[in-house]
C-alpha cells in the first residue's frame, strides 16, 4: 500500500461504521492508516438522533419520565433518577428515605449489569470470546434480580415523580443477597482474569494510555477518568438520593491504560455489591412516595447523577405548566468520545476497537442536534413535526 502523506490520493483510509461488526450502534469513524498504524482519526455521530429532548416539550411531566427512561437502553434507571430528582427539586418536595434507598439500590444493581455487559463487549473486541460468554451468562443473575424487583429487565420503570413504585420485601432481599454472593465469587474470578491473564494483558497493558492531565483537559468523566487517577465520582463528591447515608468508596487507578479501565470497572462492581448489602441491611421504613403537583412551579434546575459511564447531567426548566419548557440531557459518552480520536493516533489498527470500547460508548444516548435560530429574522423554534420532517429529509 503506498502511503505518502503528501499526496492526498494515496492516503489509505479505513471506514469503521455506520455499520460494522465492532460497533453495536451506528457511528462513523475514519482512520487514516500507514500500514497498520493509525495516523489520523475523524468521527461523525448523529445516526441515531431521536429528538427525545424535543419530545419532552410536548408531553406532561409524568409522560416525559417514561420517554427519558428510554434515552439509554442500558442505564435507563439513572436517567429516570436524574429527571425525578430535578423535578422534585423544582416542585419543592423530597422523596421519602425508603424511596431514596431503593433508588440507589436499583442504580447499583444497574451498574453491575452495565459493567458486566461492558466487560463482555470489551473482551469480545479483543477476540477473547470466553470472557464475553461467561460474563454475559453471569450478568443474567443481576438481570433476573432487577426483574424480580421491578418486573422489567431493562427499562425498569422503578421511579416515579416523588418516589419509587416498587418495594423490597424480606423475600426479595434474600434473593438479592443470594444473587450477590454468587456474583461476588464470579467477579473475583474476572478480576484475576483481567489483571493476570498474560495473553489478555498483551492487548490491554500500556495500550490507550491517557494521563491525568489529558483527562482533565478533555473533560473525561466516569470510570475512564478514574482509571487515569482523576478523583471524580458524583456519588462521592456531590452525593444525591441515599448516597449521603451510604457513602461510596472512590475506586481509582493510576496507569490510565486499558488494563486500568478494566480493573477500575471490576473493582467498582465490588463496591456496588458492598453498597447494596449495606442498603438491604439498613432499609429505612416509611412511605414509598410523596405527592407531586401536576403543575411544577416555574424555575430552572440542574440535576447530576453518576451513571455507570460517568457524570449524567440534566437541565430542567419549567414555566409553571404541566409540561417541561426545556429538558437538556448530557450523557457521559459525549465528553469521552473526544478522547478516542486523540489516543487512537499512533496505535495499531487492531487496538482501535478496544480503545473505542474502553470508554464504554453509548452512541444513541449522546446524539444531539443543534439548530441556531436568529430571532431578529423572525425564526422560531422548530415544532415536533418540523424536526421529524428534517430528520426524514436528512437521511434520505
Amino acid at each position: 500500500m503506498p502511503t505518502t502523506p503528501t499526496q492526498e490520493n494515496d492516503v489509505f483510509r479505513i471506514p469503521i461504521g455506520p455499520q460494522h461488526p465492532a460497533l453495536k450502534e451506528p457511528g462513523h469513524f475514519e482512520f487514516t492508516v500507514d500500514g497498520e498504524v493509525v495516523t489520523a482519526a475523524t468521527l461523525r455521530l448523529g445516526y441515531v438522533h431521536r429528538g427525545i429532548e424535543k419530545g419532552t416539550e410536548g408531553r406532561n411531566w409524568i409522560q416525559s419520565l417514561y420517554l427519558l427512561e428510554r434515552v439509554c437502553g442500558i442505564c435507563s434507571h439513572v436517567h429516570a433518577t436524574a429527571y425525578c430528582l430535578g423535578v422534585e427539586k423544582l416542585a419543592g418536595v423530597e422523596a421519602p428515605p425508603r424511596a431514596q434507598a431503593i433508588r440507589v439500590l436499583v442504580a447499583e444493581l444497574e451498574r453491575i449489569h452495565s459493567h458486566m455487559l461492558w466487560l463482555g463487549v470489551a473482551a469480545h473486541e479483543a477476540g477473547f470470546d470466553m470472557l464475553f460468554m461467561y460474563s454475559w451468562r453471569d450478568r443474567e443473575t443481576v438481570m433476573n434480580l432487577l426483574e424480580g424487583i421491578t418486573g422489567n429487565r431493562v427499562n425498569y420503570s422503578a421511579n416515579q415523580l416523588g418516589g419509587v413504585k416498587c418495594d423490597i420485601d424480606g423475600e426479595q432481599a434474600d434473593d438479592i443477597r443470594v444473587g450477590l454472593d454468587f456474583l461476588e465469587g464470579r467477579i473475583k474470578h474476572y478480576l484475576d482474569v483481567v489483571s493476570q491473564d498474560t495473553m489478555f494483558l498483551r492487548r490491554t497493558r500500556g495500550i490507550g494510555v491517557m494521563t491525568r492531565e489529558d483527562c482533565e483537559r478533555m473533560g473525561i468523566v466516569g470510570p475512564t477518568a478514574r482509571a487515569s487517577g482523576v478523583e471524580l465520582d458524583l456519588r462521592v463528591h456531590a452525593p444525591y438520593a441515599a448516597y449521603p447515608e451510604h457513602p461510596v468508596n472512590l475506586v481509582t487507578a493510576t496507569a490510565g491504560d486499558l488494563e486500568a479501565r478494566f480493573i477500575v470497572r471490576v473493582n467498582e462492581l465490588f463496591e456496588s455489591i458492598r453498597l447494596i448489602r449495606e442498603i438491604l441491611d439498613d432499609l429505612p421504613e416509611g412511605d414509598l412516595s410523596v405527592r407531586v403537583p401536576r403543575r411544577i412551579p416555574a424555575g430552572e434546575t440542574i440535576s447530576r447523577v453518576e451513571a455507570p459511564r460517568g457524570e449524567l447531567f440534566y437541565y430542567i426548566k419549567s414555566n409553571r405548566s404541566d409540561m417541561a419548557d426545556r429538558v437538556k440531557v448530557r450523557t457521559p459518552t459525549l465528553p469521552n468520545m473526544a478522547s478516542v480520536l486523540e489516543i487512537a493516533v499512533g496505535h495499531q489498527l487492531a487496538d482501535i476497537p478496544m480503545i473505542l470500547t474502553g470508554i464504554d460508548p453509548c452512541f444513541s444516548c449522546n446524539d444531539r442536534m443543534v439548530a441556531i435560530n436568529d430571532p431578529s429574522r423572525g425564526e422560531q423554534a422548530w415544532t415536533w413535526e418540523q424536526l421529524r420532517q428534517y430528520g426524514i429529509e436528512y437521511y434520505r
Binding site: 500500500m1 497498520e36 477476540g127 470466553m130 487492531a350
Partner: protein
C-alpha cells in the same frame, strides 16, 4: 478406475469434504461448550455449505473476474491434492513418491496464498488489510511449521511421508523425543487455519471478514471447505508423525480427535494476537526453538 475413485470418492473428493465438515463441527461444538454455549447442530457445516453454494455470487466492481472465480477453486484443489499423499484416517496414502512431504506442505500453502490473493484482488479496504495480514502471517508461521515437519524427516532419513510414518510407528512416539517440534507443528497448524488466537487476518471487530469480505456465495463455500480439508490433513500429518505413525483407523481417528480437542481448548482460552505480536511470537520463539531442536537432531544423527 481406482485412480478416479481415489480422486472423487476416497480418500479425495466426497469423503474428504465430509470428514472436513465433521471435524469443523466438532471444533465448533467443543469451543461452544467450553464457552458455555449450545453450539451448532451436527449438520450445520453441511447446511452452511449447501446454502452458500446455492447463493448468488456477487462480483464486486473493480476486481479481475477470472481471478475472483478461479482462486477459490485453486485453493480447494490444492488442499484436496495434498490429501492424496497423506495417510488419511489411518489408511495408506493413495500416491507416494520420494519427496512428497515437500509437495504436500506446498499444496497446503495454496489455500492461504489463494486467500491472500483473493483479498488483494478486490478494492475493499478491509480485504486489502486482511490480505496483507494473511500473507504476513503466512511468512511468520510457514518456516517454523515446515521445520517442525522436517524434524521427523531428518530422523527417518527420508522425505517420503510413507517412510516417515513407518519410522514413527517402529520407534517411541516422536512426541517424546521431539516435543518442541510437536508443539510448533500443532500451533503452526492453528496459524495456518487462522484459528484464534491467530485470527488477526479475519478479526471481525477490526476488518469484518478480512480477505474474504467480498466473497458471498460459491467462492466463500469453497474457501470454507478448503479450510475444513486442511484441518483434517494437518491433524493427520501431526498425528502420523508425532503420535506413533499409522495405526488401526479407529485408534488413528481417536488420536486426531484428541489433537482437535487440544486445538479447541487453546482457541477458547486465548485472546487474539495483534499481527505484530503474531510475527514476533513466531520469529522470536517458534522459529528459534524449532531451529535449536533441528540442529540438535542433525548433530545427534551425525554422532550416531
Amino acid at each position: 478406475m481406482s485412480a478416479i475413485a481415489a480422486l472423487l470418492i476416497f480418500p479425495g473428493g466426497v469423503f474428504l469434504l465430509l470428514v472436513g465438515m465433521i471435524y469443523e463441527w466438532i471444533d465448533r461444538k467443543l469451543v461452544a461448550r467450553f464457552q458455555n454455549r449450545m453450539g451448532p447442530r451436527w449438520f450445520q457445516p453441511l447446511a452452511d455449505t449447501i446454502k452458500l453454494l446455492a447463493k448468488e455470487e456477487v462480483v464486486p466492481d473493480g476486481v479481475d473476474a477470472r481471478l475472483f472465480f478461479t482462486l477459490p477453486v485453486i485453493a480447494l484443489a490444492g488442499a484436496m491434492t495434498a490429501a492424496l499423499y497423506v495417510p488419511l484416517v489411518g489408511f495408506e496414502a493413495s500416491y507416494s513418491f520420494s519427496g512428497d512431504l515437500i509437495v504436500t506442505v506446498y499444496m497446503l500453502s495454496l489455500l492461504t496464498l489463494g486467500t491472500g490473493l483473493a483479498g488483494a484482488n478486490t478494492l475493499n479496504r478491509f480485504s486489502l488489510i486482511g490480505a496483507t495480514r494473511t500473507l504476513t502471517q503466512l511468512f511468520s508461521y510457514e518456516a517454523p511449521f515446515l521445520l517442525a515437519l522436517l524434524g521427523p524427516a531428518i530422523v527417518a532419513d527420508s522425505w517420503q511421508i510413507g517412510e516417515i510414518t513407518d519410522y514413527a510407528g517402529d520407534h517411541v512416539w516422536l512426541l517424546v523425543t521431539q516435543p518442541i517440534g510437536f508443539l510448533v507443528a500443532l500451533i503452526g497448524l492453528m496459524g495456518k487455519l487462522e484459528l484464534p488466537p491467530f485470527d488477526a487476518p479475519e478479526a471481525e471487530t477490526e476488518i469484518v471478514a478480512g480477505a474474504l469480505t467480498e466473497y458471498s456465495g460459491r467462492g466463500l463455500a469453497l474457501f470454507h471447505l478448503g479450510k475444513g480439508v486442511e484441518l483434517v490433513i494437518g491433524l493427520t500429518l501431526v498425528a502420523a508423525f508425532y503420535l506413533g505413525g499409522v495405526t488401526h483407523p479407529l485408534i488413528f481417528v481417536a488420536k486426531t480427535l484428541a489433537l482437535l480437542s487440544i486445538l479447541a481448548g487453546l482457541q477458547a482460552l486465548m485472546t487474539r494476537l495483534r499481527i505484530d505480536q503474531t510475527v514476533g511470537l513466531w520469529w522470536r520463539y517458534g522459529a528459534l526453538l524449532v531451529l535449536a531442536q533441528f540442529l540438535a537432531l542433525i548433530v545427534w544423527e551425525g554422532v550416531m
